[in-house]
C-alpha cells in the first residue's frame, strides 16, 4: 500500500464567521483486523491500525478520536467546529506502528 497515510479533508464550500461547520476527512489506511489461526486462536502480533485522531484548529485541540480495530479500513471521520477566525484545521492520525499522518485545510470566509 503505497497510498497509506494519504489524507483528504473536506470543508463546506462557503463558510461565514461564527458558523458551526462540519468537516469530513478520509485517510487511506489498512486498519488491520485481528487475525486468527486455524484453531481460532488470535495471532499475537503488532497490528497496524489507527488508534488516535487529533483535530486542531487555531492551535486548540477541538476533538480527539480514540479508535480501535472495529473502525473500517480507509476510515472516514466527521466532526464539527465553530469557525471563529480564518486559519488552518489540522487532523493528525497516529497508528500503532508509530506512523503519523497529517492533513490540513484552510478555513476562509467568503
Amino acid at each position: 500500500m503505497s497510498d497509506i497515510g494519504k489524507v483528504r479533508l473536506r470543508l463546506p464550500s462557503s463558510i461565514k464567521a461564527g458558523d458551526v461547520v462540519q468537516v469530513r476527512c478520509l485517510i487511506i489506511h489498512p486498519m488491520e483486523r485481528i487475525e486468527r489461526d486455524k484453531a481460532g486462536k488470535i495471532i499475537d502480533k503488532k497490528y497496524n491500525y489507527i488508534n488516535k485522531v487529533v483535530v486542531t484548529y487555531l492551535g486548540k485541540t477541538i476533538s480527539t478520536f480514540d479508535t480501535t480495530q472495529s473502525v473500517s479500513e480507509n476510515p472516514y471521520f466527521a466532526f464539527t467546529l465553530k469557525a471563529t477566525d480564518p486559519g488552518p484545521v489540522t487532523v493528525t492520525f497516529h497508528d500503532t506502528l508509530g506512523g503519523k499522518y497529517e492533513g490540513t485545510a484552510q478555513i476562509t470566509f467568503g
Binding site: 476533538s63 478520536f65 472495529s70 472516514y76 466532526f79
Partner: protein, 167 residues
Amino acid sequence: MRDQGEAGAMTRREVLGTLGAMGVAGAAGTVSLTAAPAEAQTLGQNESVEAGLSRVFGGRPMKDGGSLIKLDVPLIAENGAVVPVAVEVNAPMTPQSYVKSIYVVADRNRIPIVTRVALSPEAGKAFMGANIRLGETGDVRAIVEQSDGTLWQIKREVKVTVGGCGG
C-alpha cells in the same frame, strides 16, 4: 478440589507477577512511554460488551438518551466492513456544560468499543461521524458523557448481510 483450585490460582498469580515485573524492567522505567500503549489497549479489547462497558464506565447509571441523542445508522448494512455511523447530541456546548465524550459501541463485535471521541466546547456542536465495522447483526449504541459526568445511552439495531470483522 477447592485446595487444588486455590493452589492453581496461586501459581498462575505468581507467573503473572513475574511476567509483569519483567515487563516493567523491559520498559526501563519510562512511565510516559508505557502509559500510551496501555491506554490504547484498554479501549479496544477482545471482550463481551458487558465487560467492556463495566470496564470503561464502572457500572455508572445510564439514562435513556432517546430524546437527546440522534444516532444515525442504516437499518440494513449490506457490507459490514463499512457501516456509516453518525451521532448528534442535542445539548449545549458551552464551557460550563458540554458533551465531553461520545462512545460508539457495537454489541456483537469482538472488540465492542469502537471509538471514543473527546470533544471540547469549541466544537460548537456535539457531533461525530465515522465508518465502522460490524461483525454481525446486533445493536449499535451511542453513549454520551456530559461534562458533569451524566451518561446517556441510545441503541439501534443494524442488520448485517455480510459481516466485516473477520477477527
